[in-house]
Subunit: 270 residues, 4 copies
């Protein structure tokens, strides 16, 4: 099965690239199941119901969130009405929605998607992601009721992300990081068969500071003071992520490749 | 001019890859000037004089350090005897050594190398890197006494690194990040001509947690307690970094490409 | 009932003050139940079995720990043999020992003691303390099986400590902070009857940097580099904490006063 | 000379206590020079010109700020017109205003006031406070052109505050902390004659979470999400700080006592 994971959609530039580019990309890559991180799709902060629908209609089978999950307050109720949206398992005990769910891919195959938040260098504290993902992986063994499983580790620190990768190795089809908004070039298959990339990168304009228009971030770094609000950069976006091919019987990764398309970054090798 | 920058050399695996691989790599890529980050070459923590010599003899023209600059106490005196080693400009007012220096590349061309530490998500506090690098860039304009300049932003946060990139854009030949030990895939030339990559990645074994043997980092994440010391992973290392080609007249980047060679990562396109 | 809580015992100076001073202090104050924080009693880092025994023999009915709970590895097994030692409820799912327990005070009265770790500004991440203490307080209502209850919030941030105070207000007899090693002067009874002080302060030598000999902390602040190990300051210690008088029927605080005795700090009013 | 330092004035409750209580308090204590921290006087966030005037008219000779110095944008220009307002020395190189100044106390005596920001556990990074205060103390020796000097260390960590105290010991009349909004009970004279208290505490309503109405902070701790804005608590405020008596000839502290007056905290001993 071919699973496409695209990272944090960043504002209007990211949404446009998804709306226009996701369909053709899936076609060209022969994708069976698509996951898109949407935590920054609305003005760079959170996800509205309308923008969630846009991403789903563009071809995502599942939308994940992150630390910005409920920055748009309407998501607090919308997530209860839309089972294709996942928020981190360890967001907060009081959060609505779910952190893991089994989805259906092409030809009825089952895919588990789960998201966890890191604890290192995050602006707010979250509970232990390792025990949270342990419980989910234990109850959804590969080669049992699910043919594949994907873990989104939404985190800052490369050490924590690599540790999650090894922790899930052999028990998930893909562990992919999000949150830093920069794709990493460490795409690999870990020793027990799990596909891995430390960060998917964002779907956004890379002539920016992590997707935001450069002016205000630079002012804040230089003066230590906020002058204006952050607004997403509006130049052409790069769709960024990873494509993993799994063995339906074992659930393990047999091939993995980075995906970078459009915008300013060097396109991934065809 | 062709400038090669290789990221954090991690322990014995990284040193071996440098000793055996740097010469042939320079040859194949036609490199005029080589910079290697050495802050983790000795047991994963700091750099001894002997290991600094090893890296220089392998072909580095300049060795940069980082937050681990003086983890090996002998570097406090060794750095005063070896002008080819650079420590961060904003390490601490009490630190020995220098944070920027002009080097000679092939055919007598001059290259400025400077290193700064980020302030965001770092384990210790450092002074403002923006004003530190501003002063150095102002006194070393491209196309003046130097034909090229390289800024190593040793930092965790992608936002801070991209902000440094844009801050130096048009004034440096290359801004390259280090410290996360994972290469990023955002290799690009910024709008005013500076080559950029958020992180060079490490020269180390990627079957690890940022270069360290997996067992102890995993135990610490799972139990919250240290059991043993961290030790570098010993598997085959990947040499990771970036190659920038600059215009000797303007000092700007005309071409940039990622470098990944050996070990577990997908090799960079030839 | 009169409950004495003394803060973090710091090294030899703190142990000596406890060994010599706790007995007479209890006598003079007419104490029914005594809790002492021991997380720094052994060289400033953790607690050995021998030092735990010393504190218990000096008159503590219960010893609490903190983020340094298992810095002395022997505590990993010792805590299983000594039920009078409590470690934080939210230390790590893998930690031995317990985070709350019911003790017996004079005349057979029951006292619940529980400890939680804060999440804000701590060097390591811990799980949510609010839901952890909620569960314990719910199953141990005041005026039910326990005549009094004490919550030790081991944390850095005053905001988090005050929030824990209000969260437990009316449901615990005393909420007292530890960890900063400086006593606060905000001793009060909250609006629904819980005694509160943001930090008990340490039992240690205040001519120091939070109990450590001044020289090395100052060197590290000035140079950004470690030169030597930290060692506890050896001057005369101040016993620091709080004394709360509770109503045995309601479990609420009827009186509260700071305790400071010996060493360099101004003694608390008799 | 008798110098009164009062900590962070918190919103309307704090302003009212200053307006009504500072005059009588100065009278009763026989104060020669008064410093008030104003960084939270306006809605809990920053200081407007009008509120600065209110504090000065109530009897402050000098108003210090903190990390919230310019939360009210008008302070960016107001500070240039009002030399009695001091912002931290190490706020940012781009900040307007000054971080240290010599003031005149009763009978023409000179008092240096300087403020520095800590680096540990602060939400934003700041430059090294030790070298910043070193320069100021060196150029303003006690017993020279100034009869007294006061250093406000606006910081979170008790370790950093105590280190600043010892660093300035014998060179300043008083080192007093601000920022945590909780008074500490470690009022003392350090070994070379500098008066010290780790935190002055706030001038605000202590039935709160560091001066803010309890409801929203509690919601955020419990749910991990913001629901509303923070608003200052409106109950009766406690004026909190410290009174130091100095020797005009040596500039050293000869006596020091905490000040707590009104509101919910136990009043300081007369
Ligand atoms: Fe995020
Ligand atoms: Fe994001
Ligand atoms: Fe580093
Ligand atoms: Fe490194
Ligand atoms: Fe602690
Ligand atoms: Fe402690
Ligand atoms: Fe502050
Ligand atoms: Fe404040």
């Amino acid at each position: 099965m071919r699973i496409l994971y695209l990272g944090d959609v960043m504002g209007r530039a990211g949404r446009r690239a998804i709306a226009e580019g996701l369909g053709p990309l899936k076609q060209r890559l022969g994708v069976d199941f698509t996951i898109v991180n949407g935590e920054n799709a609305s003005g760079g902060m959170g996800l509205t119901g309308a923008h969630a629908r846009l991403i789903l209609e563009a071809g995502a089978d599942c939308v994940t969130l992150g630390d910005h999950a409920f920055d748009q307050k309407e998501m607090l109720s919308f997530i209860e009405t839309e089972p294709r949206i996942i928020r981190p398992l360890n967001f907060s005990k009081a959060a609505p929605g779910r952190g893991a769910r089994v989805f259906e891919a092409t030809r009825g195959r089952k895919v588990l998607v789960a998201q966890i938040l890191g604890q290192v260098f995050m602006k707010r504290p979250f509970d232990d992601p390792f025990s949270a993902i342990e419980a989910v992986l234990k109850s959804h063994p590969l080669g049992g009721l699910v043919q594949a499983s994907v873990v989104d580790i939404h985190a800052e620190a490369t050490s924590e992300k690599m540790a999650v990768g090894h922790f899930c190795d052999g028990r998930a089809s893909l562990v992919v990081g999000t949150h830093t908004h920069v794709p990493t070039a460490d795409t690999m298959i870990l020793s027990r068969g799990t596909g891995y990339q430390s960060d998917a990168g964002m779907c956004g304009d890379y002539d920016s500071v992590i997707g935001m228009d450069k002016a205000e971030p630079l002012r804040r770094f230089l003066t230590g003071m906020a002058s204006e609000r952050f607004t997403p950069a509006e130049g052409p976006a790069t769709l960024c992520g990873v494509l993993v091919t799994t063995d339906d019987r074992t659930g393990k990764a047999v091939e993995i490749q980075p995906v970078r398309e459009g915008g300013r970054l060097i396109a991934s090798p065809a």
